[in-house]
Symmetry: C2
Subunit: 148 residues, 2 copies
Amino acid sequence: MSTKPSHHQRLTHQRRLVLEIIENSQEHPDAEAILLQARARDARISLATVYRALAFLKEAGLVQEHSLGQGHGHFEVAQSTPHYHFTCKQCARVIEFSAPEVIDIVRGLGEERGLQVTDVHLLLSGICDRCRSSQPALPHLADGSSHP
Amino acid sequence: MSTKPSHHQRLTHQRRLVLEIIENSQEHPDAEAILLQARARDARISLATVYRALAFLKEAGLVQEHSLGQGHGHFEVAQSTPHYHFTCKQCARVIEFSAPEVIDIVRGLGEERGLQVTDVHLLLSGICDRCRSSQPALPHLADGSSHP
DNA sequence: GTCCATGCAAACTGTTTGCACGCGC
DNA sequence: GCGCGTGCAAACAGTTTGCATGGAC
């Protein structure tokens, strides 16, 4: 959304800092992680400010929030090409992938049902390649019946 | 040998009650909604019990939890045919849809990347058909790209 | 009698908010 | 100066947990 800033100061030091941290992160940091990194560069920044900056940046369309199945939000810079996420249940690693077919499916559904779809999240979880291979041949992890 | 499970009483009155409520619900109730309905039939059931019952039923594979973009869990009976969810940002209505193509995409990705995918959530949000038509032409809710 | 499940309240996590101060314009 | 943005702490929502009691076998 590109409304012109009819009000005064918008992109403050702290907000810029939060944005930079997200931009420079290969991960998908959560608010706590962002706070930690922010504190390394500005000891007095508070968690509330991080959340407010995140809200601001989301509203500005610069940052997106994703729920990656861990009960709290994760953040990344808004990207023009849609992409989706796989979360490893074992090591919590997040792998991004693109799947262009998805938007076609979604578009079809939208038209079929009269829905105006503005957000699409395809979230996979399971065991990532690394964890699978470092694992002493477990027979059937697929059903998730037991374990830590 | 003993056909009994190694542990004793499993499917108690309260757990059955929670399960029935979810089964009979066309909606996707959250814990609070389940508590309310449960209280109508057993005044002394507690929220903690609801949560413990939900954990038990999930573990038993009878119930699934979904994050529908509202910051808290929603529950439904586990279904054999996978399906996905659209949440209306305006009226919070949840619409289910199936999209068989999705599992193919996911299967492809899994093989390609060596991931073992156990869970797939495709979550859409936007404006539902009802809200769109009952809407007196709102100026800028309709930016097709991303976001609020 | 043995355990597990329950109820209650308190703890906990992630996030939001009220209020007074403070910085940038 | 003025107003928005900040920091702090308290409030909040959703969920989990410790502990003593109660129920089903």
